[in-house]
Amino acid sequence: MIRMAREIPLIMMKEIGYTYPNGTRALKNINLNIFTGELIGIMGRNGAGKTSLIRTLNGLIRPTSGNIYIKNENINSKSIATLSKIVGIIFQNPFHQLFANSVEEEINFSLRSLNLSKEEIQKRTDQTLLEFDLEKYRKRSPLNLSGGESKKLAAASIICRDPQILIFDEPTLGQDAKEIEFFINLINNERKKRKTIILITHNIEFAYEYIPRTILMTEGQIIADGSTKEVLNNEFLIGQTSLILPQICQFYLALQELGLQEINKISSKNDMTDYLRNLIKNKSSKI
């Protein structure tokens, strides 16, 4: 994606700090710019400050120092209600955000605070249920959905409000391959609409394959910010944040030890498959 040199970031965090009332410093001197249309991952150990960081974006946490600007406006004085129209957060545990009596009501409620006509609310509800393949559960209680379906509903109830910034906390947790595929399609669709998407994830393989930019956090600080392939391939950074190298990186390090050449260009599953395919064909025998 081409970015104009003078483009102003959609989100600007300037020297953000946050100290909990008990004295724990959850965020320390965070400086971060995020541009419109970006897909960005936040990774780090449990307790590194990832969730605190995203909570500052819709006002759930007010920084104890520094300023946050969204669309060039300081959000310090903006209410959670105002901010939640721009920033939608989908939490890790869907049951922390679902409370209505039926799936339909959940979406309906979410739309009600947007000053829409009754007809428009119903229209958008129907459309959302269809898009998220939840139509068949319209009258069912959210409590009687499976883990995967409830995660879908939680996402639907936020995305139907059409916020410009979407934040997902551990979206792939407990999901099987089919559900992860649904999620990938979902974020691809939202990106086509120029939405800015932030994902907190522990899923290294997922991040490596699908997220272009990653920031690494440890002890309330950002210690790296760059292309996911480079960040997750850096053994020093991985060690600092107690993550593990993606399998592809582990594999080519092992291949390098075997003395195999020209594997430095491998950066995805497909690259690795191509490399091995050529290797086998050149040896003209099966391995």
Binding site: N144, S146, A177, A254, K281, K286
Partner: protein, 279 residues
């Protein structure tokens, strides 16, 4: 005697028309310890199967059942959950839900106190379990003060101290970062070596768990579609068809196999992959 035995077992939750478990026949032998992976897409019945093993289904979860489940020869319908808990230890996904006391040491002692074990024996077992699970330093802390990884270790310790014959874990690493998840998996290896017990684990992170797995139980829509050695299941059609989070290394070699460029068993770890490539 079999450790676990399901005979034509059916179960559906109250209010649901579909069977969560559909004609389950399963045998886990008790003569030597094993590391078994329970795998399947979400909603395939893994958690329901686990709930049957300590009698939670049908004693606690209302529903309709048919057939028989026996643990160490004890029928799970007639035996109390308390009695079954000395045979089967279950650690659920969210440790917060099973930690109930105000300090870790009490947490671990709780089960033993209820079983009427002598205080001297309780102390000795706590000491041994705490050392194995590396929680000696946090015995006086409150469970809510602990990190996710510590909570998970305490939950495992509180079950392990009851000395079950089989330890069952339902997605134990789901909420943990990769480092902590690895640590828990290594702990399970350690427990197996020390205690010589069978471990059954339901887990979505197959890349972490497959290198240690000896048997796989594969579930789909409430049915056990395959139960065999890890190697056989991984290289079979059922595993191929299910939408599981297969390790990257599996996908690569599976693709080469499809193209007829590779004809050995599909490797499930980097070291196995490297071995197959030494030519």
């Amino acid at each position: 005697m079999d450790l676990v035995r399901f005979e034509s077992f059916y179960y559906r939750y109250k209010g649901n028309e579909e069977y969560a478990l559909n004609n389950i026949n399963l045998k886990i032998e008790g003569n030597d310890s094993k590391f078994i992976l329970l795998a399947g897409e979400t909603g395939s019945g893994k958690t329901s199967l686990i709930r049957c093993m300590n009698g939670l289904i049908p004693q606690f979860y209302a529903g309709f059942y048919r057939g028989k489940v026996e643990i160490q020869g004890k029928n799970t319908i007639e035996t109390s959950i308390a009695d079954l808990s000395t045979e089967v230890g279950i650690v659920f996904q969210n440790p917060e839900n099973q930690l109930i006391t105000m300090n870790v040491e009490h947490e671990i002692a709780f089960g033993l106190e209820n079983l009427g074990v002598s205080p001297k024996e309780i102390l000795s077992r706590i000491k041994q379990t705490a050392s194995l699970t590396e929680i000696e330093d946090i015995l006086d802390k409150a469970p809510f003060e602990l990190s996710g990884g510590e909570q998970q270790r305490v939950a495992i310790a509180s079950i392990l101290v009851l000395e079950p014959k089989i330890l069952i874990l339902d997605e134990p690493t789901a909420l943990l970062d990769p480092y902590m998840a690895n640590k828990i998996i290594n702990l399970l290896q350690e427990i197996r070596r020390e205690k010589n017990i069978t471990i059954l684990i339901s887990e979505h992170r197959l890349d972490l768990i497959l290198p240690f797995t000896e048997q796989i139980i594969l579930m789909k829509k409430g049915i056990i579609v395959e139960h065999d050695s890890c190697e056989k299941v991984i290289n079979g059609d059922n595993f191929q068809r299910l939408r599981l989070n297969k390790p990257v290394i599996f996908s690569i070699f599976n693709q080469l196999k499809k193209e007829n460029l590779y004809n050995k068993n599909i490797p499930i770890s980097i070291s196995e992959a490297i071995k197959t490539l030494k030519f």
